[in-house]
Every structure is written in C-alpha cells, then in structure tokens.
Symmetry: C2
Subunit: 248 residues, 2 copies
DNA sequence: CGAACATTTGACGCGACTCAATAAGCGTGG
DNA sequence: CCACGCTTATTGAGTCGCGTCAAATGTTCG
C-alpha cells in the first residue's frame, strides 16, 4: 500500500509545489542545528537526505496505520495528529508547530494520521536513511530520544486532562499550553492566536464544538479571557486562567 | 530534596529487604539481555551499575515532580504510574509489568509518581550513570528510543480511549490490553488476572470505581465475559469483546 | 469471629452531548 | 460596494451517561 503522501504527491499537486532541493535541505538543517544536534560541518551532509514539501490547510500528510516510511519536520504552519475510531470519532493527540518532528511514536506504521491545520511546509526524510544516519551520529539519536521523552511526558499531561479535567479546566489548560508554546517559539504569548478551528480544539480536548464554544463564552463572561475574534484570545488574568486550568 | 525512594529506603524498611548486589545485578542484566540490547560479555559490566530493591504493595516508589535521579526496571510484580491534580483527582498513565522500564518520560523531574500495585522487585540505576553508559553503548540508547516510541504510541491509544470511548468500550479495551500483555510475557491470556484493584482500574480508565464495577457486571450479563472472582475475568467471546472495545 | 476494607448495587443529579436554530465570517461574483 | 451562498461559530432546549451519595454485600486477615 502506497504512503498517503505519495497519493498527494502525484494525485493533487495543484496546491503543492516543491522548492529546490538545496534550499529545502538547508532550511531543514537549520531546524536541527538550532538544537545543537549536529556539528555545523555535518549539516550539508544531513540536509541532503531531506526534501521539502508544502501542504494546503486540510490536506492529509500521512495516514494512520500506513507504513511509517517517512519522518517529517515542521518548517512552518501547524499540523494536527489524530487517531480515529471506525465510527468516525476522532481524538487529536497533538498539534505540531515549527521545529517539531512528526512520527516520533511511529516505528513500523504511523501511530496517528497527520493533517495540515494551516498551510504548512515540511521537510521529509526517508525513515530508514534517517535511522542509518543516526547510527553514525549518536548525538542525533540522543536528541531524538530526548524529544520523544518530552512528547511522552506531554502525552501523560494530556491523559490527565482527558481523564479527569472538566470542560472548563480543559479549555483553560489548552490556552495556557498555546501561550507557553508560542513563547517558546519567540512569538507573542498574550493575545493568543488559535490557528485551528473549534472542531480541531474539540477533538484535542475530548469535547464537542458546542461545549468548546460555550466554555470560551463562560471564561470570557467570567473575565478570565477576552474573545477578540474567533481565533484570537486575550488573557484577562493569568492567575485566573491558571486557576481555571486546575492549578497546574 | 531527597528522592522519595531514599525516604523509603531509610524510613520504613519493615516491608522491604535488599537482595545481595551480585544476585540483583545479574537478574537485571537478564532483563535487558532478553531484548538483545547488549552483548553477553557486557552484561556483568552493565549489571554492576544497578541495585536490587523490593517494595510492598501500596508503597510509593517515586514521586511526581521529584528529581528524576533513577531509572528503574521491573523485575517482578506490577507498578502503576500516575499523575494527580491538587484536589486529589488521579489519572493513572500506565501499568508496568516485568521487563518494563520506569522513567522513560522523565528527564529532569519525574513525569509521574510510581506506586507498587503488588509486591514488586525492581532494579535501580543512577540516571546519570545510565546515560553515560548509553554514550559508550549506542545499541542500548537505540533500544531505549524504540521503547520510548512504543510507549508514546500506547499513550496515544490511551488518549483516544480517554477522550472518545464510552465506559463499556474503555473496560473492554482494558481487558484486551491485559490479555495481550499477558500473552507477550508468555502468561495465560484467557482467564485474565487483574492484579490491581477497582480503584486503580478506574484511575487508569478515567472512570469511577462504581462505573467500572457496573460495567464489569454489564459485560458479564451480556455474556461477553465471566467474572470468575474479583480479580479474574474469563473471556466469553473474543469477538464480542473486541466489538465491545470499539472495533480496534 | 469480627473489624476494616473492597466491591457491588441502587437512587438521583449534573455536566456534557445531541439536536436544532440563529448568527457571524468569508470568499465569490454581480 | 453589496448580495449571495457556504462554512463556521454561537446559543438554546432537552436528553442521557456517568458521577455522587448511600447502603448492602463480599473479602481479607488479625
């Protein structure tokens, strides 16, 4: 069975274009370089393994259960990972921003589907060649282990949220998380930008769009946040927001 | 701040005894050897890094948020990992059986608390020495990366369960999981043994003990399972159980 | 045997879901 | 620029699954 990506690649290229390989490779290499995984002189070598792709918002990047042939790194835009039940219920397991890696949980087949939430640019590696490269560059594997451990820790946080938090706590926690991640990427953290729709938020928080919407309204009425517009939230009181999130 | 383990170590030794270091070391080495991480001749070397500990059911092995000074490997018994909210609500993030490793998600501080569900034996490593050892033995780090990736994948499955499944689907999924893991350890998979109490199951599935109990009763009345006794479940129909679990 | 604890069962309430209607955004074309 | 259709978000009314509280039953172990 062909990887979903290849269906995209050859199927509907209208909304996707490939940048020159050299440019792409460098941009990706920078992503990793920032984190100190590789020495400067190894970058061109490593970058040559990658190719650069674009996806339009809404496109599927890879499908759950398909062979995990690729590792992706997000260059720009937002990607959502999700799992689904046969009847269509969906659970988003995470949102990925620039610098994040897709496929840390996947070894043989994709643990989750990956979908472009906004228009995105990614760098793509053959998983097998990526692994071979790690054999020769232990620092890269060490870094990947750290990243995977951090994602596992985040997954545990999300399990606490999904298993035990109320709708209000979930939404408040989500806003805090977005603010923190924006800050980590040197982006403004206070008027929080929500790049995803209510449906995507609901799928991430284990709620329905109606409940998400109502909860935003409630938090706004309580003065905790201000709904500037559908995709912009200003934090009224950080203290109140943390309190609403369940005190963590 | 001292690690929780050390409080146990010197605080209430009544229920815990240490086996001789040599015996312990070998037993741990075997755990890893089984998985092919290290060559036979490196085992004594590696094993010397570890010490062997016992904990009685109910004891805390390490606390959430405490410095992640140790890596543990389960030799026998069952361990539960959990996170808690300030008001006491708990979410169990996983159960660990013989051969599993505790602390994959923890880098600086423990992501979860670890509690002995049954009497357990563990092998303990200093995290810093373990990491130094990985620097010299890339195979070990590669294996740890694979294990962490698998745990992340399992965490994603659990997020789907917690966010989207009904009580019946959660309980059925849990029973299937226990059966599969028992089989993986060469244990009988059909009369499923539940080593943990209803409270621990409820904390793992994001439910209450009452709902867990009622759901067991319902599944039994439907003929899907048979409740041999409180801690033993016989699967009546594997097909029906898979169906009840949501078809995955 | 009896106390302490774990589990099951029952009655009831509430928070989140479902279904439905309305409002707001947003591109497209006149 | 406004009208139009389409998608998305909000709001409302009613329902239901699971949580809460309480009591009964079973189990363990001194």
């Amino acid at each position: 069975m062909a990887c979903a990506l290849d269906q995209r690649r050859y199927g509907d290229s209208a909304k996707r274009a490939e940048a020159p390989a050299t440019l792409c490779a460098m941009c990706h290499a920078r992503q990793f370089a920032v984190c100190g995984a590789l020495a400067e002189d190894k970058l061109p070598d490593f970058a040559a393994l990658s190719s650069h792709l674009r996806f339009a918002a809404g496109q599927t990047i890879s499908e759950e259960g398909a062979p995990a042939d690729w590792v992706f790194s997000v260059v720009s835009g937002v990607i959502g990972l999700h799992k689904a039940l046969p009847d269509g219920r969906r659970q988003t397991t995470g949102f990925l921003f620039a610098g994040d890696v897709i496929g840390l949980a996947s070894r043989i087949v994709n643990a989750c589907a990956a979908e472009a939430i906004t228009d995105v640019q990614v760098c793509r590696f053959s998983r097998s060649r990526f692994e071979m490269y790690m054999d020769d560059n232990p620092e890269l594997r060490a870094r990947l282990l750290r990243m995977t451990a951090d994602e596992l820790s985040a997954a545990h946080d999300q399990m606490l949220l999904l298993g035990r938090k109320t709708a209000r706590e979930r939404v408040a926690s989500f806003l805090l998380q977005l603010a923190e991640r924006a800050a980590a990427r040197q982006m403004p953290a206070n008027p929080i930008v929500l790049p995803m729709r209510r449906m995507a938020i609901a799928d991430y928080l284990g709620l329905t769009i109606e409940t998400v919407s109502r909860t935003f309204t409630n938090l706004a009425r309580a003065g905790v946040i201000e709904l500037v517009d559908t995709s912009t939230v200003r934090i009224g009181s950080m203290f109140a927001l943390r309190h609403a999130a369940g005190g963590r």
